[in-house]
Symmetry: C4
Subunit: 248 residues, 4 copies
């Protein structure tokens, strides 16, 4: 591991602050349509013109996939396009971002999520935002395993398509890969939705509904998954390569 601490000077450099701002806006671009779609579906389903669960399932996957792809594409060249505290944690473990900058990114991401949910509340005239909830018959550990696996896949994808210097021409479509791995897992995770890979979205929901009792799950699962992906990818595809190719 090559963890970097950084310093206060770097954390207050204009470029760092701009990157943090880009993360804030990108999180906002991800959360607003994803949560807006969830609210619309929840209201359709209870009215007489009921949406089918099958349809809602697909709408959730598409709104998460499309909006995350856009959120990554607009910040890729400014902040690296993390748009997820777990992704930032994964990049930190690999030494690709300093501790100071990591904390700044986290604050920005949480603010972006809260802002999106706040504006949704106003725009819908006070409708409740959906919160993650465990399905009947599930223990927290079922959900946690899902989150570990799904976030592993997300952070592995981020490493392979953007951080790895060998990513090459895959970088051009990296934001699509990152958005769509979340879209696929929104379908794969069933009732858990894609935000179960994103602690910032869960945090925004908790601020909105002021329910914090299972919040730890939405941080613990994704951070464990991100850590495994970062350490595995670093160990196998990046560090060992450096070991072989000794620079002068």
């Amino acid at each position: 591991m090559r963890i970097a601490i950084g310093n206060l000077k770097e954390a207050t450099h204009p470029d760092t602050l701009k990157a943090a701002f880009a993360e804030l806006v990108s999180m906002f671009i991800f959360v607003f349509p994803s949560e807006g779609c969830a609210i619309a579906l929840a209201n359709m389903m209870t009215s007489d013109g009921a949406a089918t669960p099958g349809g809602g399932f697909i709408a959730a996957a598409i709104s998460h996939a499309f909006s995350l792809f856009v959120a990554v594409s607009v910040s890729a060249n400014i902040s690296g396009g993390h748009v997820n505290p777990a992704v930032t944690f994964g990049a930190f473990l690999g030494g690709h971002i300093s501790l100071f900058k990591t904390i700044l990114y986290w604050i920005a991401q949480l603010l972006g999520s809260v802002t999106a949910l706040f504006l949704l509340k106003i725009a819908t005239g006070g409708l409740d935002t959906s919160s993650y909830a465990l399905r009947g018959g599930e223990t927290p550990w079922n959900a946690i395993i899902f989150m570990i696996v799904m976030t592993f896949q997300l952070v592995y994808t981020v490493y392979a398509t953007t951080i790895d210097p060998k990513s090459g021409d895959m970088e051009c479509i990296a934001p699509i890969s990152i958005g769509f791995v979340v879209g696929a897992n929104t379908l794969g995770g069933g009732g858990l939705y894609g935000a179960a890979m994103n602690p910032a979205m869960a945090f925004g929901q908790a601020v909105d509904s002021w329910k914090w009792n299972s919040q730890w799950i939405y941080w613990f699962g994704p951070f464990v998954g991100a850590a495994i992906a970062a350490l595995v990818y670093e160990a196998i595809f990046i560090s060992s390569r450096n070991a072989h190719v000794q620079l002068p």
Copy 2:
């Protein structure tokens, strides 16, 4: 702000007229399938083979996302691929297009939208096109906040992926980002549909149905959102960069 006025000579230059024509065709490519889909769904839903609202919701998002992506991709290298008066307004506020050219683009965009709805009317044998309407229990201000937020996200995406000189390899997938941010927000905005970010589509609907009473909403909301996005992006990511890197 670096607003440019331009002059009549520029506005009548062949390249400017070609760009305006490209905007007209692109708007036509965006509006025809999006509105055609809305008409098809409206007719399916009232017949016995009723479409589910959930399905219609997704079909609306996909038709908007796919057709706007195509519309941007075919005009990106000719006119910049605005396909939206609010996007042109945002580019104007940042000084990236002159006032004369802006007005020419707006005329072309409105003509493209009207042409699409006119041909749809003929092709469907006179079926009514759908018009935006406020949902029950909404004040205009709920819709306006939605439009401001959604158009902010659209114009921010246009700036980040096409106007920003640092957009780099994101330019290749910029039309997909622009189409999909509208697709995601069509799901996010629930019953408002993606065209609520596009005054030209609302204008075409008003010409078709000759109902103008809430038309101002579909111009006010998107223009405010576009202005915020343009000014924020310029101030933070473009102007300040120029301030730091003094050219000789």
Copy 3:
């Protein structure tokens, strides 16, 4: 117009034959999943586990969009990725393909479509393939206007993203644009489906069902739309550019 006739020698050159073969396979890659999806939906809808029309509508759009995108991407560098007699006709009118090669492409495209439907018949144990049919209350001219408009949009997209030398970095995503403009119009054209832009698909259906009475519509509409797109794009964006930039 710069129509090219070509000669028998060019038409029998190995590269020309390879290009024709690539068109055959690409048409096969487009028609098999699109028609397979239509058959699956038709059978689902009549069984007790009925598919909703809304869902079928989206499935049709996605199968057409995805399979045409793939079909174009696998032949783009070999044959130009036409995968449609109307697109080949549009390229011919602009002088980008000779008459001899055009005829060869058409034969290959028709063979590819017939092969796909023949294999579908075997693979499904003899299920009927769906055929285009006019909806109740429509005159042929409604359908023809739809086809003209939708094929205009398709061929305009082909010109803007592949034939135009200024297409630049849009070429990379051109197959996606071409696939998705058909996907959007499959939703926009309602009950007409995306193949209403493709005479070769209609031809395959007619061979399969041996119903030829409205076959002319599926050739007339798309060819008129393709011609308008080719002539407009050439006149405005290609020819005039050459007129201005005189090469030495």
Copy 4:
């Protein structure tokens, strides 16, 4: 044919082992969301909030298309992004991968699939994974013809967009083409699902359910389709080109 055998030294080289590991993870990224989606749909359909088959059909296509696209994009520059024993077999027949490496890839792909299904079982608290099954009224040969055709299209796409040295700028979007050809055929193949092109997914299902009686079908069909695609593409587009362009 230019089959390569390779040797044990190559098969145990770090780069070969890394490539095999990348195949394992990619198969895991493909199978987990695709199967997770199938499980979620199966459970939705039997509960009172029943998913419509039309919706489930689309969800299956999207989960397969998105997850395979991601799986290919994260391994494209490391292992070639096969993510399918039949694709590896096709590459082997064309001489693009040695026999030793082929066997290593197969083992990795099977392990990746089994791991995904094992983790799904734990994460869902023991829900049964869906297995491929023949639809009523089908003989195995109907399914086999479907698989041959669909895998032919998949391997032809892999050859045209990644292996062919002339693939050029299509390489950038190759993972999307590969994912979406499977997505389209998931819709095209009706009840067969996209994994009917992937023996490793069928193997994982068989390990999970310990039903092996029709396992041979899911290997025979795809391998025949892959062989035809590889031999046809090699013969027509690669070998003959080499014959013409004699290198000094």
